[in-house]
Amino acid sequence: MKIAVCIKRVPDSETRVKIAADGKSLDEAGIKFVLNPYDEFAVEEALRRKEQAGAGEVAVICLGPAAAQETIRTALAMGADRGVLLQADKIPIDPFETAKLIAAELKGATWDLILFGRMAIDDYNTQVGPLVAELLGLPCVTAVSHLDIEGTKGVAEREIEGGIEVVEFPLPAVLTADKGLNEPRYPALKGIMAAKKKSLEVKPVQAGAGTLEIVALTPPPDRKEGKIVGEGAGAVGELVRLLREEAKVL
């Protein structure tokens, strides 16, 4: 089983982000970056598929700055075999430009599966996976929360509004992993040390300008102070009334 997992370096969800002086980007000073949490599901799934098959390769591909080598090593520490960094100083804001670079890299080999996280938790675009599938002419299933593979046929489940959608697809295919697909492993300490010795190829790339422009970033408005309505069962009536009449959420 030969699997490519495409990952992204994103700010840790615990990080308090600040908008840079230009008003259009994040101030990266002091931000802790991590492997995108949805990509962890993709890495874990790839490792399990390879382990079940008993042979194969899990390659990790990342578009990002030089510092994204650390993100790739996180995946290598979990057990991936090798990494490729498509190194660009700026990640394009247009997902199509990102997809073109990743698809160009993936074209160089044949894959049984190409996995992505459902979305990156920084821009929430959910686009790169499907765009890459389109560029490669492969079937794509997004937001996969359960996966069965028999030979060259796959069955994926997607959690949709009010139910579960079951999708059959032929391999090779592009899938994007959702929460619930698996429980990602912690990299063992030995794995972290071994990651240092695994192949990590760095390829400089030049991203196109794309057709999108960020005009402004604004932080969400400050949350209003909460109100304690009362305590115990006696407060429920008043709480429901306020939720309905004041907050208008019921």
Binding site: D12, E14, K32, E70, R73, T74, A77, Y186, P187, A188, L189, K190, I192, M193, A195, K196
Partner: protein, 395 residues
């Protein structure tokens, strides 16, 4: 779920760590957040070590992590090992103690003083958590003065017969194997002290938990009794010799404690800061009052100093240049510092500070033990005094 712990790093000390060291620290940190933090409060109140965590700790590779891969260990450097101890004790001193005993007091002496057969037999099983060990040095009447021990090992034609009692033994009732230190010669001959690997199922060996502890409640502490315990000839650690051998183990464990204390201090500081920002009194957050700001400023200062102390000590140890006296200084300073910070946090939290739901009082109570074990604060003072003056205050 409480928010993820993000550490304290005022001096960009992260920049002095390698990528692997940071990755190891972050992995253990996340593991503690997910696995220990949700259960530690209840485990502490119930007085139970969270045994269910042992397989997970082993799978990560936390036991004897600075010992070689050839014996099933992670083969990490001493800074990475220290960071592991820091993160474990950020959770709870009892959990760090468990790992310290397993790694520094049981696996280390087998590695340092054991035969190749002993290493191959025991270390992989201990790294994988299948065999838990304990370390029997302290006796009811010989704590700070282990040279006076009265546990003896007599050589017979088949092996050794051990008699004596050990006290304050972490993991004593959990362990499948005990490293027992005993005199093989005259009762006043500390040079005759040797280490023995004793399976705890051996006839005549018994372990009884010490009850009524108000500290390290999430850790098993036991009394061991050895009554005519017969072990084969190859139970002795062949390269152990004199009191120096167990003291080398203690130096290894104290090194981890110096780091661990920083973890406990960071946990308390983190709690103090978040409480000070949220808790409103007299119409503004506690953190807006000068008295509380002074507390927090002192905490941050002391933590930062202790972090740098540990890191340099670790680098020296990795270069083979650290001395036991340097380890004494770090253990003495950092545990005292952490105890002070835990106490100040407890006070800053007001009445909430006495609840198990918060961490400060648990850490405070734990650290009172850590202050006393592995060389009391006072003994480390005397070790440093001797180092400075060349005059021993012990004898």
């Amino acid at each position: 779920m409480p928010p993820k712990f993000t550490g304290v790093d005022f001096y960009n000390i992260d920049g002095l760590l390698s990528e692997e060291e940071r990755a190891i620290r972050d992995t253990v940190r996340a593991w503690i957040d997910e696995n220990l933090m949700p259960v530690i409060g209840d485990a502490y109140v119930a007085g139970k070590f969270p045994k269910q965590l042992i397989p997970g700790m082993a799978e990560l590779g936390l036991f004897g992590a600075n010992l070689p891969e050839a014996y099933g260990c992670a083969g990490l450097n001493n800074v990475a090992y220290g960071l592991i101890m820091q993160e474990l004790e950020r959770g709870d001193s009892g959990v760090r103690s468990f790992a310290s005993v397993q790694g520094a007091l049981v696996m280390y002496p087998i590695y340092a003083f054991g035969s190749e057969e002993q290493k191959k037999q025991w270390l992989p099983q201990m790294a994988s958590g299948k065999v838990i060990g304990c370390f029997g040095l302290t006796e009811p009447d010989y704590g700070s003065n282990p040279a006076g021990m009265i546990t003896v090992a007599k050589e017979t034609k088949d092996g050794w017969v051990l008699n004596g009692a050990k006290m304050w033994i972490t993991n004593g009732s959990t362990a499948q194997a005990a490293i027992i230190w005993a005199k093989t010669g005259k009762i006043d001959d500390a040079d005759s002290i040797r280490g023995f690997i004793v399976p705890t199922g051996t006839k005549g060996f018994s372990a009884k938990d010490q009850k009524g502890k108000l500290s390290l409640r999430a850790s098993d502490t036991s009394e061991l009794v050895l009554q005519d315990v017969q072990v084969p000839k190859d139970a002795i650690l062949p390269k152990s010799g004199g009191l120096k051998s167990p003291l080398m183990c203690l130096t290894a464990a104290r090194y981890g404690i110096a780091w661990g204390a920083v973890g406990a201090a960071m946990a308390c500081y983190d709690e103090a800061v978040s409480y000070a920002k949220q808790r409103v009194m007299f119409g503004k957050p506690l953190g807006g009052f000068q008295l509380q700001q002074a507390r927090l400023a002192d905490m941050l200062t002391e933590i930062t100093k202790a972090q740098l102390l540990c890191l340099q000590l670790g680098r020296l140890k990795d270069d083979g240049k650290s001395t036991p006296q340097q380890v004494s200084l770090a253990k003495r300073n950092n545990v005292n510092m952490a105890t002070d910070i835990a106490r100040e946090t407890r006070r800053l939290l007001g009445a909430n500070g006495i609840l198990a739901e918060y961490q400060a009082m648990r850490h405070l109570a734990n650290l009172e033990s850590v202050y006393t074990y592995e060389g009391t604060h006072d003994i480390h003072t005397l070790i440093l005094g001797q180092e400075i003056t060349g005059l021993s205050a012990f004898n």
